[in-house]
Amino acid sequence: MSDYILRVKEISKSFSGVKALDNIHFDLKKGEVHALMGENGAGKSTFMKILIGLLTPDSGEVLLEGENLVGSNVNETLKKGICMIHQEILIIPELTVAQNIFLGREREVSGKSGVLSGWLNDAEINQRAAALLDRMGVNIAPKAKMKHLSVAQMQMVEIAKAISHNAKVIIMDEPTSAISDKEVATLFQIIRDLKAQGVSIIYISHKMDEIFRISDTITVLRDGKYIGAKSAAELDYNALIAMMVGREIDQMFPEATQPLGQEVLSVRNLGRAGKFWNISFNVKSGEILGLAGLMGAGRTEIARAIFGLDQWDEGEITIKDSPLHARTPREAIDRGIGYVSEDRKGLGFIPRMSVKDNITLSSMNNHRKGGFIDTHSEQSATEKMIADLKIKTAGTGQHVTYLSGGNQQKVVIGKVLLASPEIIILDEPTRGVDVGAKFEIYKLIRSLADRGMAVIMISSELPEILGLSDRILVLSKGKQTALLSKAEATQEVIMQYAVA
């Protein structure tokens, strides 16, 4: 069957005794978009890393056009035509966009040989990068330093890098986790072009609508096991979810059960030079306020300012009628504000600390006897939170690094909740989180509001903004363009204000 470019047989892989992959099969046709689906921690990224030679499987075969790739390193698989956009953005911050794109291929690009073969040719690199980005329709300067880019832009550069390899197989591990609809559309156009050229794509995403828009075939993994592969046409939304989580999810967005209470937070004419201007809104106890806008609209900046991570220049913030000007997160936390950052790795958790140590980090004052840690109260608080949030972990002592994305997110939310905030700001709370866990998080957010918290939810996924929010604040380029009630808001209306 020569129309399969890649055939994978009986791959297994364990990490220190724990089976991450158990006897996986996978067949990829030439020129197809093959989605790989599964919950957080199902083993998707691990599987892909095996394909490109970054990890070695315990057993099994990876056949690219009949040639076994097991044992090859990244360099060799790249040369043979498989490349990957990694889930965690892998860039060199101090190098430029162009330098990142062609990293590892300077020699090819420079076209020099002999004594000069070690010489860089940045002019050529810049030119090629410019042409490539242009072709993709992305507006990023090739000479910009990578560290000055937004996460979205970094992700676009990673995509550009993968494309520039002219590979036969491109693996995209959650390529759209940080980019907005406009860029997703660009990416999909690129994918269609590649397909037309006979390139095969393995596509991983937790955004279900994308899967049905782009994929031809869908393979599902669950807990490291192969569940099945079906053509996308055979599946619908519910059937796919059932394959992934092993059960049906009835109602995605839970309804409010409690009436709104008093106004808790009020923001008037808030501004920060160059970031946002004239922002005014309030949130009531029991309310979920959605913050919508395109990437770079300034939503995160507003949240950071309220939480004391950044300073602001004008306007005022009041909590229950007394003014707030937090200069540090500590002050904000003491005033009852909790913030779950969009940057889970950077601002969320401490990777080499345990679930328990992370989850109690903001509320050590509740678990202390003098300067000492009250281990009992800490342990019981952690266990309760693990149960409440249904965090999947081997124990309270497990390092957070080894949890799946969704569970890491829950740990961060748990940490914020343990500090018993009255106002909680959730910035992209479901980024990189699987459908099952998303549903859990939605239920959780609603229950927080029902318990009387004021919730501000920032999200780039319109369905979840629409499904959960009681009111929606729309931002565009740092300015407030609309404050919509639930009844007024539709996808179209929000988009209209977001681009205003």
């Binding site: 939480f307 997160p329 969320g348 401490i350 980090l361 300067g371 940490k415």
Partner: protein
């Protein structure tokens, strides 16, 4: 199982045990009570400094001024420790106070400026050396009281007093690191500073604490040394910082911050002490001592890595 995996982290412990076994087999003089007490005594100062720098390294910092702090605090304490002048508590308070103040100064500069700890403490290393020389006018401060000299030279029930101080310091440091909120915050700051800040930890305060504690422990080391050699030497402690940092890293503290244990550091310090003791016992020629020392230290950490499984 949790216990077992915890032990697994101390691969260095097995490397250390192996080295001791080899030594015990190669010379009968090694494994005697008196020699072990001598090793304990010799190790004590480096171990105290290593405990201090372990705190600092766990928060992702470094302290190169340890050795100079040993000199300044030793000279300062000695200046108040002449017989029939002040009661013993005065030189102790002066020494510990000077150390804490210097440590706090390190912490202050590091937290208030953007200057990396390496440069700040390299600066205070030089400054401290100068201060020690100025204070002592370049001459050893001697003629110290017997009470003061007991600290480093005395023993209780046959156990040298420095060993007792070492054990107490070890216990206190372990408790601070593992049982207090401050200790937890140190790991958090070193593990991910922005996340620690966003969790409401006052990062600057934690750093102030670790550098101050490091200064305090250096002062304890300085007092012990001064008392042991019965003089405050302005040039004491040169190079101690590298030994202390080495003990911490051999014991598994990572220079990138966020990990480390006091037990590991203690073993690291013991390892260095045991090797240098036994090279003398085995009468290895001094040139070769250095070669052997270097090889064993690298070897022990390699063994440690082999012992550990990922």
């Amino acid at each position: 199982m949790n216990r077992l995996s915890k032990l697994g982290q101390y691969g260095i412990f097995f490397a250390f045990a192996l080295i001791c076994l080899v030594l015990a087999l190669s010379t009968p003089k090694f494994f005697t009570v008196s020699n072990l007490l001598i090793i304990g005594n010799q190790v004590s100062i480096n171990a105290l400094l290593a405990f201090g720098v372990t705190f600092v390294i766990i928060t992702g910092g470094i302290d190169l001024s340890l050795g100079s702090m040993v000199a300044v605090t030793g000279v300062a304490a000695a200046s108040f420790a002449h017989p029939d002048t002040y009661p013993l508590v005065i030189p102790l308070l002066v020494g510990l106070g000077a150390g804490s103040a210097m440590g706090a100064f390190n912490g202050l500069v590091i937290t208030k400026s953007k200057v990396p700890p390496f440069i700040v403490t390299l600066g205070t290393m030089t400054i401290g050396r100068g201060l020690a020389l100025i204070l002592s006018k370049g001459r050893p401060v001697s003629n110290l009281s017997d009470a003061f000299n007991f600290i480093g030279g005395g023993n209780i029930a046959g156990i040298p007093f420095p060993i007792i101080i070492l054990l107490i310091a070890f216990a206190v440091c372990s408790v601070v690191l593992n049982k207090t909120i401050l200790g937890r915050y140190m790991y958090a700051v070193g593990g991910n500073e922005p996340a620690a800040r966003a969790s409401g930890i006052r990062v600057s305060r934690v750093k102030m604490w670790v550098y101050t504690i490091c200064g305090l422990l250096s002062a304890l080391g300085g007092i012990l040394l001064t008392s042991r050699i019965t003089t405050g030497q302005p040039n004491a402690g040169a190079g101690f910082e590298l030994d202390a940092i080495a003990a911490a890293i051999i014991g598994g503290t990572s220079t990138s911050g966020g990990t480390g244990t006091m037990t590991g550091t203690l073993i690291g310090a013991l390892l260095i002490g045991v090797i240098s003791n036994s090279l003398d016992l085995l009468n290895v020629t001094s040139y070769y001592q250095q070669v052997v020392m270097g090889v064993i230290i690298i070897g022990a950490v390699v063994l440690d890595g082999v012992g550990k499984k990922d």
